[in-house]
């Protein structure tokens, strides 16, 4: 059972309250019609699938209902941090395992 810190509720709660929502910081192009097939493939389907520290989105589904971002290590499953949607992407060098 993962324990996840919701940056809006400012509480650390069990995984069952949350839903996973995929890789974070995937940005939709402001002019979608200008995109090539290859760029569409990148945007829709290609993901980092990193073995290590992963930037990802979660939703506090059974709580405040809001989406937020997190950094989690995909080998240890431990969270390095969670932060509000729209906040800048943190530098990995500033983070340590178990930090909030």
């Amino acid at each position: 059972m993962l324990l996840i810190h919701c940056p809006y509720c400012d509480e650390t709660l069990p995984e069952a309250e949350f839903t996973y929502a995929g890789q974070a910081h995937v940005i939709r192009h402001p002019e979608p019609s200008s995109q090539t097939d290859q760029e569409w493939e990148e945007f829709l389907f290609i993901r980092e699938n990193v073995k290590g520290d992963h930037f990802e989105r979660w939703r506090h589904f059974h709580g405040c209902g809001r989406y937020f971002n997190a950094v989690r290590n995909t080998v240890s499953d431990k969270f390095l941090t969670t932060y509000k949607a729209g906040a800048p992407r943190p530098q990995l060098s500033d983070l340590k395992e178990g930090g909030e």
Binding site: D37, W40, E41, F45, N49, T74
Partner: protein, 417 residues
């Protein structure tokens, strides 16, 4: 390596079973090979076996970071079926079932393929309509599948509760009688032995750290823990770690790696005659020849390489199983484990050439790769040997995510692949 037959069994029995030769030799890697397969699971070992047997390519190595069959081949629930909706999938999975039927004879190794039937339960009107559509589509593709009423389901699988008061009432089921189970370890061992007998080197506990490319972009070989090994062709069959390996050759794939868990109960006498799956509650169950109930469901919700997974999913799975089979609600569960499965956006595999000359990939089997093992291995070997896909795996390219020609089994079944 001794062929298994009545005579060799008798001879070795009389000498106290002390003179059996090894099933495959422990070898050090050579400096170069015609083909290197990365990943010694059923799919990779099978590909090496068919390369040697059907294409005469025997200067082959299969390299694995762990022991052979120690990844998803040894971690799945061993269900075999081919009742997929789309034509492309039906052809691929039914090709696998065709090969499963004679695999023990072909390999001279008992893979314990058991045609015990897979029954998929319908619990609501949507399930009924969807399964009937699947049945019609399957039959048009020559795949056996038929509709059973709740009473017929109960007759086929006596432990099933068809009470109308159940939380998930059984409104019928789709039965594929040709489907069943096999012994997962034996599949890896049988392919390994068959390949080794034909001259293939099997190199265990030797991680491939990178794929190296020539100046013209083509494949040069692989970097491993035991040094660089040259190869004309490299086939990657590394399941959940495919993204990690392929990234070293600058090939990015539409994959995400998730933990998929399974569990077994304490062993009991034979009680459960078939495989039962339920998409609505999302769980499946069968009984192994050792007597354990083998139970599984979907992946955990988050990507991970941890080979563990979380307990909430196990709770959900066991709750679903005891709801449909109240008879099992006092049974104790013995072990649970996780494997890392590589999932594609359309939940169909990729068996394909890549933009890199001489590099091939067989991945994206997600939660349902075991059933496809012989068909996947057979068509992957063909693709590597001839540098072009077999007609059966031709639609399973990596380009389909660019062209949009998806094989969308995710939409067809939503769960339980």
């Amino acid at each position: 390596m001794t062929r298994f037959n009545a005579f060799s069994l008798l001879k070795n029995a009389l000498s106290g079973n002390k003179n059996w030769t090894e099933q495959w030799p422990e070898v050090e890697p050579k400096s170069s090979y015609d083909v290197i397969i990365v990943g010694a699971g059923g799919h990779g070992l099978g590909a090496a076996y068919y390369l040697a047997k059907e294409h005469g390519i025997t200067n082959v190595a299969v390299i694995d970071k762990g022991w052979l069959g120690g990844g998803n081949t040894g971690r799945n629930t061993t269900i075999i079926r081919s009742n997929y909706l789309y034509d492309e999938s039906a052809r691929l999975y039914d090709h696998a079932v065709d090969l499963w039927e004679d695999l023990s004879q072909d390999l001279n190794y008992n893979v314990m393929y058991s045609r015990r039937g897979v029954l998929m339960l319908a619990h609501n009107v949507h399930d009924v309509q969807s399964f009937k559509r699947h049945i019609h589509a399957n039959r048009l593709n020559g795949v056996d599948n038929r509709w059973l009423t709740p009473e017929e389901c109960k007759e086929y699988c006596p432990p099933l509760s068809i009470s109308k008061n159940a939380r998930y009432p059984v409104m019928g089921g789709a039965l594929q009688e040709r489907a069943g189970t096999a012994r997962h370890d034996a599949v890896a061992w049988g392919y390994a032995r068959g390949a080794a007998m034909r001259g293939v080197d099997i190199i265990q506990n030797c991680p491939v750290t990178a794929i190296r490319r020539n100046a013209d972009g083509s494949v040069a070989g692989v970097e491993t823990a035991k040094g660089f090994i040259k190869a004309n062709k490299v086939g990657v069959s590394a399941a959940g770690h495919t993204s990690v390996v392929m990234q070293t050759a600058d090939v990015r794939l539409p994959l995400e790696s998730y933990p998929l868990q399974a569990l077994v109960s304490e062993p009991v006498k034979p009680i459960f005659p078939c495989v039962v799956m339920s998409n609505a509650v999302h769980a499946y169950i069968s009984q192994s020849d050792k007597g354990e109930l083998v139970i599984g469901s979907g992946t955990d919700q988050y990507t991970s390489y941890s080979q563990r997974g979380g307990l909430p999913l196990i709770e959900h799975t066991v709750a679903a199983i005891t709801e449909i089979f109240p008879i099992f609600n006092r049974m104790r569960m013995l072990r649970k484990w996780g494997g890392i499965v590589d999932v594609t956006p359309d939940r169909s595999a990729i068996i394909s050439k890549t933009p890199v000359d001489g590099l091939y990939v067989n991945c994206g089997w997600g939660t349902g790769g075991f059933k496809a093992t012989p068909g996947s291995a057979h068509t992957f070997a063909w693709t590597i040997a001839k540098n072009e896909p077999h007609p059966i795996n031709a639609p399973f390219t990596m380009e389909r995510f660019r062209t949009g020609r998806l094989i969308d089994e995710a939409a067809a079944a939503a769960v339980a692949h």
